[in-house]
Subunit: 217 residues, 2 copies
């Protein structure tokens, strides 16, 4: 399986603006990316990064400056072309978002296991956090409610589809409330990164929250 991780180093995680400076958001995005890459390697696959900018990192990087949907569709089409040149069946391709900081090899294993034409791990808010495509005509559309759009597209091209039930794959780290999930469930280096930024769990108010112990911005 070819596993692609889209990444945009230039505009990282704007919805975390209320709690993190631009420099911190860049660092966090990079640490989450590396955790995702490690989890993918833990499944025995070698990830490729699909980046909007050149990137110094210990993994193959394909640079495509177009928006996410266009860049991913170009990657899908390129796999199909390669396969038809070789008169073979296109290899499966997985698209795994770079901000899935709770991802583990086990969780990704649930995504990689089904043999259907399309496999989707939906995210909260009807997003598509991770995806496997085996069908040559399936294309992505990452705009609002992409999980439903991807179901519709799969139906239109007669592709079989399975939805993966995973809290880990369903939790993308987008907004301040998501940081508590990283501190509690994260297994890579992202929890430590947040602790270095001064974040810690606080249950004094009865409800567990993430607070910043010092204003470091």
């Amino acid at each position: 399986m070819h596993v692609v991780v889209p990444y945009a180093p230039d505009a990282p995680k704007t919805r975390l603006e209320p709690v993190l400076s631009p420099a911190e958001r860049s660092i966090l995005a990079r640490v989450m990316l590396e955790d995702v890459l490690d989890s993918i390697r833990g499944t025995g696959h070698e990830p490729t990064i699909l980046s909007t900018e050149p990137l110094e990192i210990d993994a193959p990087v394909t640079v495509d400056k177009r928006p996410l949907t266009e860049a991913v569709n170009a990657a899908l089409e390129s796999r199909i072309r390669t396969a038809s040149t070789k008169s073979g069946t296109p290899e499966a391709i997985a698209i795994v978002m770079a901000d899935l900081a709770l991802t583990t090899p086990d969780a990704l294993g649930k995504l990689f296991a089904p043999e259907t034409d399309v496999v989707i791990a939906p995210g909260r808010g009807v997003g598509t956090n991770a995806l496997v495509v085996r069908h040559p005509e399936f294309r992505v559309d990452y705009h609002g409610g992409s999980y439903l759009d991807h179901r519709r597209i799969a139906e239109e091209v007669d592709a079989t589809l399975e939805t993966v039930d995973s809290f880990r794959l369903g939790t993308d780290i987008d907004e301040p409330a998501d940081l508590v999930e990283v501190l509690v469930h994260g297994t890579g280096n992202t929890p430590e990164c947040l602790r270095e930024f001064g974040f810690e769990l606080d249950s004094r108010e009865g409800r567990l929250e993430v607070v910043r112990s010092a204003e470091l911005r």
Copy 2:
């Protein structure tokens, strides 16, 4: 396995106040409860409701007016006492929250399958959405961050623990933003209930949201 569903008919779903009247919140809570009961029955188990008030419903109801933690611990202790009177091993007991409107028999199957002393399906915000207890000394504490408290309690009584990775069990329906998950992923009667209240999916703003088509309150 003895499967218990705690339910408080008197103060349902206060965090949905911005979008639902008290009467609607009561109806929604009841429909979600029935969906959860159906899913449990789909696994071959017969649920018991642990209610703060007497309840007209097609299932056994235990009434306990105490707060959630005390009532659930009383249920745990009662199972232990029954088992020791019979000089037997206590049967496993599962505690499944009544607002898990995305629950399916498959998702519950993942909770019921592990043979560890304690099995937890964490919810967003570090809650404990569903739990299986086999260890006689394990007790619950549903206050803030209960998932971490339950891990700690399991460690204190030397109980083995497994965490279940499920988006469906991890999604409790608490606040307005959760309603979109019901409309998209719900498999029981709760999506229809929301549609009858006038809710529908709206992606006109690019981001998928739930809107109310008419102000019916």
